[in-house]
Symmetry: C2
Subunit: 363 residues, 2 copies
């Protein structure tokens, strides 16, 4: 019997890709770069590793229906509903508790629903490698070998090698580091031995529940109550009553930073992006000779370089750029955004402004 499972965390309502992502349509539910949505692609990447019965999805009430429509092959009982967002620690805990009750030998792979990965074969290879390491009791993080001094990601500093049998060896983790400033990012890149924290993890439910019990005892007690009613008619009501009492916490801060036996498996060449800002699309899309990238766009470029021209599906306007550099243009039915590439994280400020000025119709 195969005890490996995937848990897809899909409750996010991120605003970082506004105006394409909206309140009702967060980025994982959008066909951001092609015909299929990021959520569908996340599931497709798992084909051949996990059959649908061994994939769990944790999401929120407002998104579950659309997700089941997009990925009907995953059984209904594997869609877990978070009554309200309470951080990734709670999500991981919930999934671990339920899986552990269903299969005490479960090994769970935790994956975000809204990342992009170009190299599927390598991803497959790395997951299998990580599962092997997790079997020997480690909490394994998939790290991404940095290609530039990013300040938008957390970093993981590696220590000595644990497994030497793979083309991609695994290392002990010395420490997790929060998003750095420019200088610190530069330094880590030069120094080597650091990976970006991708938010992808592999561990046994046994080990992760043990760490939760040690570091987050209140959460652990709540999970015990849920474990007592898993797959009964009481499960959803119990979750509903417990959830508001939880403290919102991330898995990184709540568990990983002080966990024991943490390992990192650094991956280079995965073609990974968290698609966390418009800027980040430059990392994963192939530009033309002038560095210009178009998505769904009819783009006519004159003396323009390193532009990202993104049209919402169905927007077939001709987009002309003249003499501009490092600019992102996002064209939707009701909003047009023109943004300097390296300032695309400020989209959040715009979203905040819209909230405060009663312009929710654009959110």
């Amino acid at each position: 019997m195969d005890h490996t499972y995937a848990v897809i965390m899909a409750g996010g309502g991120g605003t970082r890709l506004w105006p394409i992502s909206r309140k009702e349509k967060p980025k994982q539910l959008l066909p951001l770069l092609g015909e299929t949505t990021l959520f569908q692609e996340t599931v497709q990447r798992l084909e051949g590793i996990f059959p649908p019965e061994r994939i769990l999805v944790v999401t929120v009430d407002g998104q579950a229906k659309e997700m089941q429509k997009q990925v009907p092959q995953i059984p209904a009982r594997n869609y877990l509903i978070e009554p309200e967002p309470k951080g990734t620690a709670s999500v991981v805990g919930l999934a671990a508790a339920i899986l552990h009750q269903r299969d005490p030998e479960a090994i769970m792979t935790v994956l975000p629903s809204d990342h992009f990965i170009r190299n599927h074969d390598l991803f497959d290879y790395l997951l299998r490698a990580a599962v092997d390491v997790a079997k020997s009791g480690f909490l394994v993080t998939l790290g991404i070998t940095p290609t530039y001094p990013a300040t938008a990601y957390g970093y993981i500093q590696q220590g000595s090698r644990i497994h030497g049998n793979f083309r991609y060896p695994t290392y002990e983790v010395i420490r997790f580091k929060e998003k750095p400033d420019d200088a610190a990012a530069q330094q880590m890149l030069q120094q080597g031995g650091h990976s970006w924290n991708s938010g992808m993890f592999v561990w046994t439910t046994d080990k992760i529940l043990e760490e939760i019990a040690r570091q987050m005892p209140v959460l652990a007690q709540s999970l015990q109550k849920i474990m007592a009613v898993v797959d009964s008619s009481q499960m959803q009501p119990v979750i509903k009553s417990i959830w508001p009492t939880l403290v919102s916490e991330t898995i990184d801060y709540g568990i990983m930073e002080k966990a024991e036996n943490v390992a990192v498996l650094p991956a280079g060449g995965l073609g990974w992006s968290d698609v966390g800002s418009w800027d980040s699309l430059f990392e994963v899309l192939l530009p033309d000779m002038h560095g210009n990238v178009g998505v769904n766009s009819q783009h006519l470029s004159l003396d323009s370089n390193n532009t990202l021209i993104y049209s919402a599906p169905g927007n077939d306007r001709l987009i002309v750029t003249i003499g501009i550099d490092e600019i992102v243009v996002v064209d939707t039915a009701d909003v047009l955004m023109v943004c300097k590439s390296d300032q695309s994280q400020k989209v959040r400020d715009i979203v905040e402004h819209l909230k405060q000025h009663h312009l929710e119709r654009y959110l």
Copy 2:
């Protein structure tokens, strides 16, 4: 009896304000900066100086109907149709010939239909002053006192003062200069004594026909044939048969540069622009504290400076700019243009490209 007339040259099909101006809707026929079109504003500016009966409009077949709709107060017989564009020398000649036949003492003011002038009172004052100077036999050009080293305009070098009685004195013209390069423009600005050539002229039909006869005898002969049939049923057929034989020439090159008794009346503070490029709108519109100008736009700006955000009427999308400087954004139903301000003259290259690649639907 008042012998003053205005002749509005309105046949242009300029592409410099594409994608707002289109083949079927050149810029003079558009409500570019408000409720009324540039052509309507040109006529409105003449109120109190010229009654509609003394305003002539020279245009082309495709535009005449729309112009009469926009300005019905000008009598139909004052709309003159150019069978095909043959340069401003032919237009001026045609208008002068017809006016002279109707009123041998006619003094004609020649005005483009698609310029912007903010200060109407001063414009009124200058026109009256120019008429006075024209009465004493001069070919008068309205010059614009340069406010920056423009390379998009021709220049007029002034000599000694002719009339000293006005707050805005008139000068003899030493020479007309073609559009200069940066260095030459800088030098003229520092040196003083130069005006931009606005394309606005005042003269008696007598004097201008005399100059045409001297410098462009072939055109003069053709005009003689038209003068023989003015306001008869033969007029339009005769124009139609003559027009294809004319050489296309501008009034500046064909007449003004080598004319005798040319005067310039330099105007400062007129708030004038030929609206000849997107960039030029910055000259005539009042920006906010960050130098941003919006026309018809719902614009939300974050860390952006000196942007021009222009929405075609009826386009009510929210336009968000983040971290951009000196950029022009033009938003229309079927085309979006994003352009570095100082490169807006390259719109012509785009138009050329569209022609060559069978994308006429955007023209």
